[in-house]
Amino acid sequence: MAKMNLLQAINSALDVAMAKNDKVSVFGEDVGHFGGVFRATSGLQEKYGRARCFNTPLVEQGIIGFANGLAAQGSLPVAEIQFGDYIFPAFDQIVNETAKFRYRSGNEFNVGGLTIRTPYGGGIHGGHYHSQSPEAYFAHTPGLKIVVPRNPYQAKGLLLSAIFDPNPVLFLEPKRLYRAAVGEVPEEEYTLPLGKAEVVQEGSDVTLVGWGAQIEVIERAVALAEKDGVSVEIVDLRSIQPWDADTVAESVMKTGRLVISQEAPHTMAFGSEVAATIQERCFLYLESPIMRASGLDTPYPLAHEKEYFSDHLKTYEAIKRSLNY
């Protein structure tokens, strides 16, 4: 065990994966010698050579196109998109190609070796284009797995699972926590399951669902609610696709209430799917409507970041609305 921040945990996962299997390579803009603008790939070129850790030209559609081809060839590419906000030029390669590669070919070919890493989320004075949470844009895409860790321990374990999972995985890293989240992380290899939620805290009055950096926000909101004497169950989805509806439903059947807290703009954020599914599965158990605390339906503003953000206070208010319905 060692104390690592989230970036170090990512770096350690990449290091372990590259040491274990020489088919693993990492690349993207500034990923090589420099180690990436956040330094997630720091030291890897020195250790594994320029052929396995390298800069690409500045073209996201090319990075993922190239990675698709490399994965189809049998390698395990880990492609970095510098910011989640810049993943959209690669949208076609991801949604039309990566996700459909195996199905369309009848399993003659697949890009299961591919992992796409990208930092996401706000709270860093990033404005429109360094703050977005794009998970919902991809969640409508059969064939893709989507994973979001909330802390260093998860980051390493889930990333190692993603890299060696025989399906393409989009791995979203909460950049706000890159250095802020620190915790004990094993130095050796370990994995955490994809597609499984984690009950972070048990409770009986209301279920709170979130993922990634938002769990920290939720925990602050829950602290406030607990002062009011409310017992909250917190579920961290960890995977957005496939997502663990069973664990959420089980929790809601127990608590009778559900609040989702999410960073992205409200309309069609992933919480919509959670709400739609859970109201169907837990209809007779729900004591109040499923509430969502979300970002506003605007692009991500800079000066009004605090106001835009679905922070702990807004989440706390949603809990109260759920309880006092």
Binding site: S25, A51, T56, P57, V59, Q61, G62, I64, G65, F66, A67, N68, G69, L70, A71, A72, Q73, G74, S75, P77, P89, D92, Q93, N96, E97, K100, R102, Y103, R104, S105, G106, N107, E108, F109, N110, G112, P142, G143, K145, P166, N167, G195, P242, A245, D246
Partner: protein, 394 residues
């Protein structure tokens, strides 16, 4: 060969505007339109067996295209797309590769696939989306693919295979197995952003890839003159610091030789090459298209005179490697094979409904199992509404 560095930039105090067509790229041709060889031309090292295999594949594809176009018109398949007039480009280039090399197609390179050994039966199974289709009936007709033949499954979105080829070739280079990737695309698809991405990355990473552009003059109805203002596709290579060859795509010998040289450069010297094969899409874009709306009979006629199969046949006859009668007989036997396979494939049922959820992931995720069970219960409820699969849902 080490990467050839750009020459040091000269300084000039005279304002120099580089003209729009600064490189002059000639077209390599061995066989003239009439099938005779250019005087003094050095032919590729090609023996009778190889030449006849190439020719027979051309005939087969021509026949397949003709019959399946007709089959679509008869309503027996939903869609077809012919490669009429471009057989030399795909077959000549495929013949110059090693079997281990990966081929990534756009969709009009059935010739390359046939050359690799895809059987008439395999073609038919795909075209009829039946349960023997390697692609499990999931994509439209002509979206072939075959791992055993190193032929990547076709995908409709244009240009996406180009950066993929760069990535595939990177993997080949890493593996050290001295193979390359050849990727086909049309002059229309070369306008996509993915083209730019793929060629630039290939040049930077020095991968063993051959970018083979079939410039057939049209992208559906859009003539090349409205697709680009440059001198075709080949000069773009210069912008990437890449080598280029322009070849007569209707001259199978020239295509063969050009691709051989490109392969040598790619595999032995790790320098990707862009080949532009000049040809003409003699048929409509597909069975959904009618070219009379956008081009003249005259233009089509001019290109009929440059037709690649007749040209090659003349050369083969002049070589004494085939007679016109033998060629005709061979064509007839292709026809028989095609018709027989067509009739057979038509009878094979579509894949079992269980296949609707396989291969989305390596193993179905829970929601897919649920959806399949719900679907099957539903089919049992309304068997007549789902005639293709209901009989096998118990």
């Amino acid at each position: 060969m080490a990467k050839e560095k750009a020459p040091k930039t000269q300084v000039t105090s005279e304002l120099t505007v580089i003209p729009p067509h600064a490189v002059n790229i000639p077209m390599f041709q061995l066989l003239k339109d009439d099938g005779t060889v250019h005087k003094g031309a050095k032919l590729p090292d090609i023996d009778k067996e190889l030449a006849l295999k190439m020719f027979s594949t051309m005939q087969f594809i021509r026949l397949l295209d003709e019959r399946m176009f007709a089959a679509q018109r008869q309503g027996r398949i939903s869609f077809y797309l012919s490669s009429l007039g471009e057989e030399a480009a795909s077959i000549g280039s495929a013949a110059a590769l090693k079997f281990e090399d990966m081929i990534m197609g756009q969709y009009r390179e059935q010739g390359a696939l046939a050359y690799r050994g895809f059987t008439v039966k395999q073609f038919m199974n795909q075209l009829f989306s039946n349960e023997q289709d390697l692609g499990k009936g999931r994509q439209m007709p002509v979206h072939y693919g075959c791992a055993a033949l190193n032929f990547m499954t076709i995908s409709s979105p244009l240009g996406t295979q180009i950066p993929q080829a760069a990535g595939y070739a990177y993997g080949q280079k890493q593996s050290g197995d001295k193979t390359c990737t050849l990727v086909y695309f049309g002059e229309g698809a070369a306008s996509e952003g993915d083209f730019h991405a793929g060629l630039n990355m290939a040049a930077v990473f020095e991968v063993p890839a051959i970018f083979f552009c079939r410039n057939n003059g049209y992208a559906i109805s859009t003539p090349a003159s409205e697709q680009f203002a440059g001198d075709g596709i080949a000069p773009r290579a210069t912008g990437y610091g890449m080598r280029a060859i322009r070849v007569d795509g209707n001259d199978i010998l020239a295509v063969y030789q050009a691709t051989q040289e490109a392969r040598r450069l790619a595999v032995e010297e790790n320098t990707p090459v862009l080949i532009e094969a000049m040809s003409y899409r003699m048929a409509g874009h597909s069975t959904s298209d009618d070219p009379t709306g956008y081009r003249t009979k005259d233009e089509e006629a001019q290109w009929r005179d440059k037709e690649p199969m007749v040209r090659f046949q003349k050369w083969l006859v002049a070589q004494g490697w085939i007679t016109d009668e033998a060629a005709e007989q061979q064509m007839a036997s292709h026809k028989e094979a095609v018709l027989a396979a067509l009739k057979e494939a038509e009878k094979v049922p579509v894949p079992h409904v269980d296949e609707i959820i396989s291969d989305v992931y390596d193993t179905p995720i829970p929601i897919l199992h649920e959806q399949l069970e719900t679907l099957k219960a539903h089919i049992r409820n309304y068997p007549d509404a789902y005639p293709a699969t209901s009989e096998r849902v118990k």
